[in-house]
């Protein structure tokens, strides 16, 4: 026996797993489970009314016209926001990448230490990213009012920073020798990048850009909630008027819009030959550069036209950016926020804990729900010929209809949960739950479930099929294929996505806070409505620290499960 290698009792993975479970339990306690009244059964009839309205949405002519206009506005915000964020992201990504600074610093061959400017750039990019679009939106409303500029920049700035981070990672992971060759023949760094790094990484960049566009559509909807117009705005108005039939008209528009955007983006990526939606792990581009195909030209031209059209449609007033009043208002806001209100600290600590608890519960809920739905939603599992389908795939009888039905149902559920913004979910959830951590967590969980579930379904579809086929060929029952094949292969990726999404959840706790959920979001909402700038500054600062801490923990955990 002594010849067997000894098993390590507490592997890092296990330690992280235990820590995760502990965090979920603590969060449940913090949410007040088993202690106080959480469920408000008296609200059930209203919830039923809300749900039953889905069967008879308001389809009158004016309503459809309004829905169409609102959808266009939301789409236009998303398009303009994405376009700008890609622009910021490209510049920021280049400036935030190690390889760029090594290229600029001259003979980079024997330089190992990244220059301080690079680190500065990275730190600079971390701030806009940590603050949710909605908060940017509220800040900009204070500067420019409800001009479309507010909505577009509220998307473009945080998203630009996220894109910059991801782009810089992609660029740093791209082979550098071609760049070095050009640099060594006396080419300036920028031209050299355009002829080496950028074309090399183009496909990964493009694939990520499409993923960002999908996110932008969801953000543009949420931004409507601050009054910026579009579907989110109409949704909120209908919700406040308790006109559920109208609400559902907008919901259906939202499903169609999200479904269309997600579907076309997936088709495109498939066409390009890059399967991974979210570039958490980069593979070298496999297909020829898009710009060299006719369809590439068409796509480029189409996108350019769409962007131009969208900017024209909403005509954001860019002159406000450099107008004198903007500067004046910035100074006013700064003055009003001084000195910070330190008395707030004890309240901040408890609110921060509630926020973390909410995000932990939300992601636990989203990950488990997403996992459950991911299997029926993946097309290579229960369908005839799929891995877990016992049949051979030739049967065309009535028995083979069920897998299709469950696939459609699972996909529809995922689409519905992610298309409806978290704050709207929260409004629905507080029908039957008292405001607090739990309804916020459930609302966030529902929204993120849709996103995670789809990402996970894609992971499953892109699994290496050979070991699974081998297991199946061996005659292993479906359950064992799942346990010994699918889960071990896909779980690390699932967890990585879930942890990444946890970071996003934390940022999003703010937006459900606005509709009465607990934590820093609710505090922020209270302070905003009191124009309490000294308090706001502190709350935002606390939120930033929390975000950085959670990002750090999440990246540590991701590294250990890799």
């Amino acid at each position: 026996m002594s010849s067997l290698p000894r098993r390590l009792l507490l592997t890092p993975t296990l330690a992280w797993g235990l820590a995760g479970l502990g965090a979920i339990l603590l969060s449940l306690l913090a949410a007040g489970l088993f202690q106080q009244d959480l469920v408000n059964l008296d609200g059930l009839p209203l919830l039923l009314r809300f749900l039953s309205a889905s069967l008879h949405p308001d389809l009158s002519r004016e309503m459809l016209q309004l829905t169409w206009d609102a959808t266009l506005i939301t789409l236009a915000y998303a398009v303009c926001g994405t376009a700008l964020s890609l622009l910021f992201g490209l510049v920021g990504g280049l400036l935030g990448s190690e390889v760029w600074w090594l290229a600029v610093s001259g003979a980079g061959g024997n330089q190992v230490q990244p220059p301080p400017l690079w680190l500065g750039m990275r730190a600079l990019l971390a701030f806009p990213r940590a603050i949710h679009e909605l908060i940017w939106g509220l800040f900009f409303v204070g500067l420019w009012g409800l001009d479309p500029l507010t909505a577009v920049l509220a998307i473009a700035i945080p998203f630009g920073a996220i894109v910059a981070k991801v782009f810089s990672e992609i660029l740093d992971d791209t082979p550098r020798q071609p760049l070095q060759v050009l640099l060594n023949s006396g080419v300036s760094p920028l031209s050299a990048c355009c002829y080496s790094l950028l074309p090399q990484a183009f496909l990964n960049l493009l694939s990520y850009a499409f993923y960002r566009f999908e996110c932008s559509v969801r953000s543009a909807t949420v931004l409507g909630l601050i009054g910026a117009g579009g579907l989110g705005y109409q949704l909120l108005l209908s919700f406040q008027s308790l006109r559920y039939d109208q609400l559902w008209t907008f919901f259906y528009a939202l499903f169609v819009l999200n479904g269309l955007v997600d579907w076309s983006s997936a088709r495109l990526r498939q066409h390009l030959g890059c399967a991974s939606r979210m570039a958490l792990n980069f593979k070298p581009a496999a297909a020829p550069l898009l710009a060299q195909q006719r369809s590439g030209w068409l796509l480029g031209l189409g996108s350019a036209l769409l962007i131009a059209y969208c900017f024209w449609y909403i005509h954001p007033d860019f002159s406000r950016l450099w107008s004198a009043t903007t500067g004046q208002r910035l100074v006013e806001i700064y003055r009003a926020s001084q000195p910070p209100d330190w008395q707030l600290l004890p309240e901040l600590v408890s609110a921060a804990l509630a926020t973390v608890a909410m995000s932990v519960l939300a992601i636990a809920f989203a990950a488990s729900g997403g996992l459950l739905l991911a299997f029926p939603a993946a097309h290579n599992f229960f369908l005839p010929g799929g891995l877990l389908n016992p049949g051979r795939g030739s049967g065309r009888g009535s028995a083979s209809r069920w897998p299709w039905l469950s696939l459609l149902l699972a996909r529809a559920l995922l689409l519905i949960t992610r298309a409806i913004p978290a704050p709207i979910w929260a409004l629905a959830v507080v029908f039957v739950l008292f405001p607090g951590i739990l309804p916020g967590a459930i609302a966030l969980g529902l929204h993120n479930l849709g996103i995670l579930g789809r990402l996970m379904a894609e992971v499953i579809e892109n699994l290496d099929q050979r070991p699974l086929e081998a297991l199946k060929a061996q005659g292993a029952p479906a359950g064992l294929v799942l346990l010994y094949g699918v889960l071990p292969l896909s779980l690390p990726q699932f967890l990585a996505y879930a942890l990444y999404r946890w970071e996003v959840c934390l940022r999003e706790t703010v937006i459900v806070g606005f509709v009465g959920a607990a934590g820093l979001g609710r505090l922020l909402s209270e302070q905003l409505s009191s124009f309490d700038y000294p308090g706001l500054v502190l709350t935002l600062g606390c939120f930033l620290l929390l975000t950085f801490a959670v990002d750090w923990v999440s990246s540590r955990a991701r590294r250990s499960i890799r």
Binding site: N184, S191, Y195
Partner: protein, 250 residues
Amino acid sequence: MAAPLFELKQVSHQFGQVQALTAISLCIWPGDRVALVGSSGAGKSTLIRLLNGTLRPNQGEVWALGRNLNQLRPARLRQVQSQIGTVYQQLHLVDNLRVVHNVNAGHLSRWSLPKALLSLLLPLELETATQALAQVGIPEKLYAVTRDLSGGQQQRVALARVLVQDPLAILADEPIASLDPSLSREVMDLLRQLCQQAGRTLVVSLHDVGFAQSHCDRIIGLRQGAVVFDCPSPQVSDGMLADLYSAPHE
């Protein structure tokens, strides 16, 4: 005779604990065709990377085109580097770009950024590119995607890029190490011809001493980072070569 094109003065370089070159001094004159020979790890690649300014020596000075590369500011250094073309064994082409762009990359040290960007959409200066590709024998591959070419063809694309760059000197680091013998001969012929035509200087590192003797007029033997011999090709004897590739003396 004119001033040397390259000059190394007591150059030493080490990577971490590994001593790659030790106190090398040598001059390379305009029009020279120099072969660097020696076993793997003798310091041939390091020497080439010092010559084109990729590396800065830990000690000593590298002069190229009458300038001390150590002391140049980035812009000046780029000016010098634009006169030095380098071909690598691994080519380092961007394989998802069309051939024309990889060839046009030779222009980049002269082109402005907007022109460079425009050319990625609508290839510019097609004539030069076609001419260069014709010189290396694959004019028909102008619009092919680089990854679809064979190894030998890609080597020619790399050469065409250097031609478009139109440098005073061509440095080639093991250009034929991964090619079969007949292709190797073609590429070496091409290199010699391209240098002879325009009076360019050639510095090429080679495993194959035969090619060094047949295609270069001067051979520098390197062993363990030091110059063992440096003389005209005809004077290199079998004894000297045997000595070069023998086990290191204790």
